[in-house]
Symmetry: C2
Subunit: 461 residues, 2 copies
């Protein structure tokens, strides 16, 4: 536990009303969206200025109290599960757009700003912030940066790290670090901003983010392609990319996911389809028409039974909202949902989809598969009940086999959900021991007291 | 000096013919393209396999001999100037394309491969590797990664770091580190690949690079806009971006540079113009036509006297080759050429161009200005003679004032030329002491014997 003296010092910095020590208050911050045991923190603190955030970090440092920064807690790998003797630091009071520079195509924001709110504010100026993690309606930009959040548009537009031009953050001592710039080009010093992106709060506490913006695409067109075989759909994904078309989104849903989504959202999805693709192309209207025609031809050639083009923005939005509800829809079906994140080079999507089907059969498990097929990022979703010990063991073995198959196909353990606590033990499967040691040297040098979100990404350093 | 025993050990690893100890051989590697005093290394070594490169690093580590990796030596900030008791490691024998994956849009290359050769190989498959530093005809991809090289296409297509998906490199101990993936999305562990990009050889020795590729644009159009005032040209730059048009290139040349280039390359440039813009738009043909028409209208509105559109690919290439010859053309005019690299947010280009003119007048110096105006990256070029002590002092003061003015406009010390030795002392102007210390902690932890290109980027750690 932390001392009363420490709690008093926190209250002096952020105000009494922004320090929470009651059991009920703390219990809310004991878990995130990962399937892991909750850990109730010793205290929760909510700084309302960047300056007080820095003083909280310094206090934690001086008192050797570990701290876990939390945005919306939508993390899927345990990245925001705190230590029992540690503090959870909430960023939701730091939620301003500090600058939106339309001429120079960038914005400066605070970490607690909600992703979708920011995207809408930017859109109002004819600009575009593409990263759109599934949780964007509630997730924060600080959380997105800490996790290098992806989303549906990775294929054409990249992920969060591709939009972080600069960062200001507090190091483990509470000192302010400034890295990157408001310019596209900057080689002044080490690229610390990119190092921080995806470091899951283990190397610094972010208080200011400079994000790159781009002009909004002029036009977009959404299509739904319905297949009576999974392999037809997955081969279509590979064929579209091989034709050098880069759709803005290229989503795959298997029958299980389609049915779950449809029963949840009533969007009119074809529940009898073996699989479907949701495809959106965007850009100049002429480009959009050409790409859409090519995509349609490929779909038909590879066996699409039906093709539906959204005729209105409402129709389009309805389908995308349904897709975004996939996790919620699946989560309703069983007490425990394990959402995996294996990612392979795009051309190996057919192999990976098949591998997941084989693993489901081998371990006698229900696995729905959907995801961002265009960038090779699938989300095999295992529906289970963690209280069934025997089944849970099968789930664990299935998850490990999913990792192994993805790696064997030239892929990676995690495309966008992070390593957190959940995957830290598996890191050596993908990389070398020397690589892990290289990362740990960085962590130990920057955070010798190991107070910044300990245990995440690199395990216990 | 290094011991005979050490030289013998190097020869055992790379072969006698690949170790150079003669004074004449070593002298060639004493300098790069920066205006700094040469330093002759103790030995030069040329590994012909990645495995032997790793053994060379380990040998240097065990013998505490500093090593500076050198690609083509086109560095403009002293990044490849070695230590007198150190070794220069050449990568030019490691120059293969290991994989070119057309379906999955990536390539795996060795560090000594020449940028332009790679770009051409990729183009032959209908793909595009956009980063095009001015030195691309001779520069190496390893050097580009180590320096985070930019080029003419930064505005629309980004810089080298935007294309590095993964790296394999040797750490200071000679252990192999593997980071990143062959997929667009990867959050497995710290983003070490991005940390290495631009770290100027101080954190590791790269032996394998995974580069992202994109489909080639279908169509392009090049224009030359000629102005009778510098401010007309610079305001046009800001106006084009403000209209949310992203040209593939948007280059600025002042009269001094135009005349130098024309006398060097005879490309038919308008030597009477106060300034000119070279603009290329690319993409779908319909998009290209629309963008070109809008650009033309903006140029005319802001006072362009003449507008020339390249009618053939030959005509286009001739103009771009002339532009690429700008540094060579300027370098012929005086014994010493100081090529600066101040970068500002794009909308501040008019202010920065004016600032450079004021500085030239104030210090009574000849400064030609050209550069990648579209991404705010200007290259004020001071023509001087370093042997004239009094003038050289004025040059030094002018350079520092260029830095100060760029920073005051919200810019950065270096857009693409690196920090190296030349700008290391100025780092604290842009960032905080704590930031420098943060970077130095990383360096000391990863390279405790300080053998990897010591003194670069962060000064003496």
């Amino acid at each position: 536990m932390v001392s009363k003296h420490f709690i008093k010092a926190l209250a002096d910095v952020v105000g009494k009303d922004n320090v929470f020590v009651d059991e009920a208050d703390r219990a809310v911050y004991a878990y995130d969206a990962a399937v892991l045991d909750p850990v109730v923190p010793a205290a929760v603190v909510r700084p309302v200025t960047a300056e007080s955030l820095g003083r909280v970090v310094r206090l934690c440092h001086d008192n050797e109290v570990p701290l876990t920064v939390r945005g919306a807690g939508t993390n899927l790998s345990g990245g925001t599960i705190p230590k029992a003797h540690g503090v959870v630091v909430l960023t939701n009071a730091l939620n301003r757009i500090l600058e939106l520079n339309v001429e120079d195509l960038y914005a400066v924001v605070e970490p607690g700003l909600i992703t979708a709110k920011f995207a809408a504010a930017v859109e109002a100026h004819g600009l575009f912030y593409p990263p759109d993690p599934g949780s964007q309606a509630v997730s924060t930009l600080g959380g997105n940066v800490a996790e290098n959040a992806g989303g549906l548009r990775g294929l054409k537009y990249g992920v969060t790290r591709d939009y972080v031009m600069g960062l200001e953050f507090f190091d483990a001592h509470g000192d302010a670090i400034k890295t990157g710039a408001r310019t596209v080009k900057c080689v002044t010093g080490y690229n610390l901003a990119s190092l921080l992106v995806g470091s899951e709060g283990t190397l610094g506490v972010i208080y200011k983010i400079v994000l790159k913006l781009i002009p909004q695409p002029q036009h977009r067109k959404s299509m739904m392609a319905i297949f009576d075989s999974v392999s037809g759909a997955s081969q279509t994904v590979a064929a579209i990319i091989a034709e050098k078309i880069l759709p803005a989104t290229l989503e795959f849903l298997d029958n299980f996911t389609i049915r779950a989504v449809e029963s949840f959202s009533r969007a009119g999805l074809p529940t009898d389809a073996a699989a479907m693709l949701l495809i959106e192309v965007d850009g100049h209207p002429a480009q959009v028409e050409e790409d859409a025609a090519k995509v349609e031809a490929i779909c038909r050639r590879l066996g699409a039974q039906r093709l539906r083009v959204a005729q209105t923005a409402q129709e389009r939005d309805k389908v995308w909202e349904a897709r975004r509800a996939a996790l919620s829809a699946l989560a309703k079906l069983k007490p425990t949902v394990v959402l995996e994140d294996a990612t392979v080079p795009r051309s190996r999507i057919p192999d990976m989809v098949q591998a997941v089907q084989e693993i489901a059969a081998k371990y006698n498990l229900t696995i729905g598969t959907f995801g961002h097929a265009g960038d090779g990022n699938l989300h095999p979703t295992i529906l289970t009940d963690r209280r069934h010990t025997e089944e849970w063991h099968r789930v664990e073995r299935a998850v490990e086999e999913i990792f192994d198959r993805a790696l064997a196909l030239g892929g990676t353990l995690s495309g966008e959900h992070g390593i957190g606590l959940a995957k830290a033990p598996f890191m050596v499967k993908e990389t070398t021991r020397a690589t892990l040691e290289y990362a740990r040297r960085i962590k130990r040098a920057l955070d010798p007291k190991n107070i910044l979100n300990p245990g995440k990404v690199i395990g216990e350093a």
